[in-house]
């Protein structure tokens, strides 16, 4: 018993666990009991139709103010995210969300924005060393094939779709989260941009980091190969499989899952 208990604890401390999560926007229930575990070191994909609740799940974990959690919990390495009220506390605790639609912040340069975010993670009174910061930033920009001139552009202002998504991955690389949720990162990308972004993500795969990749299409998963694929329908995970599930979904469509669910019900 003791051994099993300990094993469970270690597992808890090394994964992102979503338990019976229910949530509303206004009076409308969007999540109807989501259960999911992403162990560190793994990449899990959530696939689903538009409106299935997959982007909502991402926003709720990050603490978007429009949603109300009505039940369940999300444990990040054993720590309940919902004990942290503000989105920034969750972010500093190690949760990163790559946005489907990254926001523009006029007048704030990329370099200053990321610097403020890195600074926010340092202990009180400790000042980020500018030369170290820029060396790190440039190295990571080079890896993502982002030109140096980018640093002085305002965050996401006038960026192409591909530039926005690359900028999200750059921020992720700089902030080194424990868990990263990528929300429709492939949307708006042509094939070259998709490859660069995927390479960027793959370079960040590590035994110390878990990924939850939310996508509508299988295409992205050719480049970011997942350990597991979950299918979300109407606010629940209804099917889980390996990477081949994505191919099957692509071939047979989401209705196949729904029909299957109905058949077994």
């Amino acid at each position: 018993m003791r051994g099993l208990h300990q094993e469970f604890l270690i597992y808890l401390l090394m994964s992102l666990v979503i338990k019976n999560l229910t949530a509303n926007i206004g009076d409308q229930q969007i999540l109807k009991g989501v259960n999911l575990e992403v162990p560190k070191g793994e990449v899990h994909a959530i696939m689903g139709k538009n409106g299935s609740g997959k982007s909502t799940l991402a926003k709720i974990m990050a603490g978007h103010p429009d949603y109300t959690v009505t039940g369940g919990e999300v444990l990040m390495d054993g720590e309940n995210l919902f004990d942290m009220e503000e989105p920034d506390e969750r972010a500093r605790a190690g949760l990163f969300l790559a946005f489907q639609y990254p926001m523009e912040i006029p007048g704030v340069t990329i370099a200053n924005f990321i610097r403020a975010a890195v600074q926010a993670r340092l202990p009180e009174g400790e000042e980020l060393e500018a030369t170290d910061y820029y060396a790190n930033l440039y190295a990571k920009m080079d890896a993502l094939k982002i030109p140096r001139a980018f640093t002085s552009r305002s965050v996401n202002e006038g960026f192409s779709g591909g530039e926005k998504k690359r900028c999200e991955i750059l921020q992720m690389a700089m902030l080194e989260p424990k868990y990263a949720v990528l929300d429709e990162t492939d949307s708006g990308l042509d094939i070259d941009a998709l490859k660069i972004v995927s390479d960027g993500v793959n370079a960040l795969r590590s035994p110390d980091r878990g990924f939850l990749v939310i996508t509508h299409y299988q295409r992205l998963l050719n480049y970011i190969v997942p350990d597991k694929v979950h299918v979300m329908v109407d606010g629940r995970i209804v099917m889980t499989g390996d990477k081949d599930l994505a191919l099957e979904l692509e071939a047979r469509g989401y209705d196949w899952v729904t029909e299957g669910e109905l058949a077994t019900a």
């Binding site: 990050a62 603490g63 978007h64 103010p65 429009d66 503000e86 989105p87 920034d88 972010a91 500093r92 990163f96 969300l97 946005f99 990254p102 926001m103 523009e104 912040i105 006029p106 007048g107 704030v108 200053n112 924005f113 990321i114 403020a116 975010a117 926010a120 993670r121 305002s154 921020q171 902030l175």
Partner: protein, 473 residues
């Protein structure tokens, strides 16, 4: 009050801690409370004013009493000023010291806490520090003085340099321009007098610091700057006051004269406490090919009404107003610019950015005047407003009067809001709500902040950070 929903907000004034202190000073001269002809005589006697100034002051008093309040809708708060409760002159003597060591202890401590002597050592060509009604300290670096530059208090200016002083004093802004310019003319004390000889380019800025220490006090400094032909000068002023329960009045008059080909830049960073009525008249007269630029940052105060202006009197003169206003909860920043094109081929540029937080109101009020017979005049006006909360408010009243068809004007205005989605995005990166707000606001004013001298832009960013940190619960 629309601010009621936000009662959990911390008191914004906490953040003005740097300037929020006062010393119990035993004033040697005190004109008492209220304003009568006897008050004027008292001030004249203490300051040993020449007869023409005594007459000038009494004319000011008459006009002040005659003139109505500026009556547009925004200024009803002006009715709450009780002129009979204000003290119009407080000082410990009229001779400013040339060395910080000689400045009376409380005043020296005040300016040290505000970092003035340190700034002087670091980057300034000269400093004047005014404590209530009179300059406590006034000094100009020897090298600058040797070029013939005069930088003294207005009292010293009128006594020692009457030939230049009297020629221009009250000429750019007539006493009866408005009720508050008349009030200033009646009781003015302190402020700077600057003269830059022909061709002299003053490399480093001259700075004045205006400090209100006493409660229920009115500060009425009077500044006159004359840049002779082909000369250049930058003047910077900073202002603070402690937070008192009763209202305090700051009503300055600033006149600039740029002779042929001269350049004057006038930079203001004011951080008044929220009990201060700040009613200032600022105007410059630009002769042929001269350039006058007002760079103005208004943070704090209860009500600020200030519209720096340039009268472009000579051909090819240029006028510019760059202004940032930040209106926090309960504050009203009514600011703008006036550009009078009184000669051909004159150009003016107005860029105004305002930020309204909580129940704060920011108003842009502008006037651009190009008469029908002028040729080749140009004006560009840009006003951008940023709203932080849903009940924040901004108003724009741009009056552009162009009669005739040989001139060009351009006007752009925008209103934007810091959206909840932007804040969420920044918070997701680990910034607190306050830090996120602050970053958004700094981004909004970023291009204008670059116009400020470096030392001031750093200070400005810090002030905005403080103001924004206090604006969220």
């Amino acid at each position: 009050m629309p601010a009621l929903e936000e009662t959990e907000k911390p008191d914004l004034n906490l953040d003005r801690s740097v300037g929020d202190f006062s010393y119990d000073v035993q004033y040697q001269y005190d004109a008492g409370v209220g304003l009568t002809e006897a008050t004027i005589d008292y001030i004249c006697d203490v300051k040993n004013d020449p007869d023409w100034i005594r007459e000038f002051r009494k004319d000011g008093l008459r006009k002040f009493l005659e003139k109505p309040m500026p009556t547009h809708w925004a200024s009803h708060d002006l009715d709450n000023i009780v002129f009979d409760n204000i003290r119009y002159y407080l000082s410990q003597g009229t001779q400013p010291k040339r060395s910080w060591d000689d400045v009376p202890e409380e005043m020296k401590q005040t300016f040290e806490r505000l970092g003035i002597p340190e700034q002087e050592r670091k980057f300034l060509a000269g400093v004047e520090a005014q404590f209530d009604s009179e300059a406590a300290y006034s000094n100009i670096k020897a090298a600058v003085g040797e070029q013939g530059v005069i930088f003294v208090g207005s009292t010293e200016g009128l006594h020692k340099h009457p030939e230049i002083f009297r020629k221009w004093f009250g000429k750019v802004i007539p006493t009866g321009d408005n009720k508050f310019s008349a009030l200033n003319s009646a009781v003015f004390s302190g402020g700077s007098f600057i003269y830059v000889p022909p061709g002299v380019k003053v490399k480093h800025p001259l700075q004045a610091y205006f400090r209100i220490n006493a409660e229920s006090f009115g500060q009425f400094e009077r500044t006159l700057i004359i840049a002779d032909e082909g000369s250049e000068v930058m003047y910077m002023e900073g202002c603070t006051a402690p937070k008192f329960e009763t209202s305090t009045l700051h009503s300055a008059v600033v006149e600039l004269v740029a002779l042929k080909g001269a350049k004057i830049q006038y930079v203001t960073v004011q951080n008044w406490s929220p009990n201060v009525f700040n009613l200032v008249t600022k105007r410059g007269l630009a002769h042929e090919e001269a350039e006058i630029k007002w760079i103005d940052c208004n943070i704090g105060s209860r009500l600020t009404m200030k519209y720096p202006g340039v009268i472009m009197k000579g051909r090819k003169a240029r006028g510019e107003v760059i202004s940032i206003a930040l209106a926090s909860d309960g504050q009203h920043q009514d600011t703008g610019a006036k550009m009078i094109h009184a000669a051909d081929e004159t150009t003016s540029n107005i860029v105004s950015k305002s930020i309204s937080i909580g129940s704060g109101i920011a108003t842009y009020r502008g006037l651009v005047d190009i008469p029908p017979h002028r040729k080749g005049c140009k004006n560009n006006t840009e006003c951008d407003a940023l709203l932080i909360n849903t009940h924040s408010r901004t108003d724009t009243y741009p009056a552009v009067v162009v009669r005739g068809n040989q001139n060009a004007t351009q006007h752009e205005a925008s209103v934007s809001k810091v959206s909840a989605e932007q804040i969420f995005y920044m918070q997701q990166r680990g910034l607190s709500e306050g830090e996120a707000m602050s970053l958004a606001v700094n981004g909004f004013v970023n291009d204008l902040v670059r116009e400020f001298p470096m030392e001031y832009s750093v200070e400005l960013k810090r002030l905005i950070d403080l103001e924004m940190e206090g604006s969220v619960g």
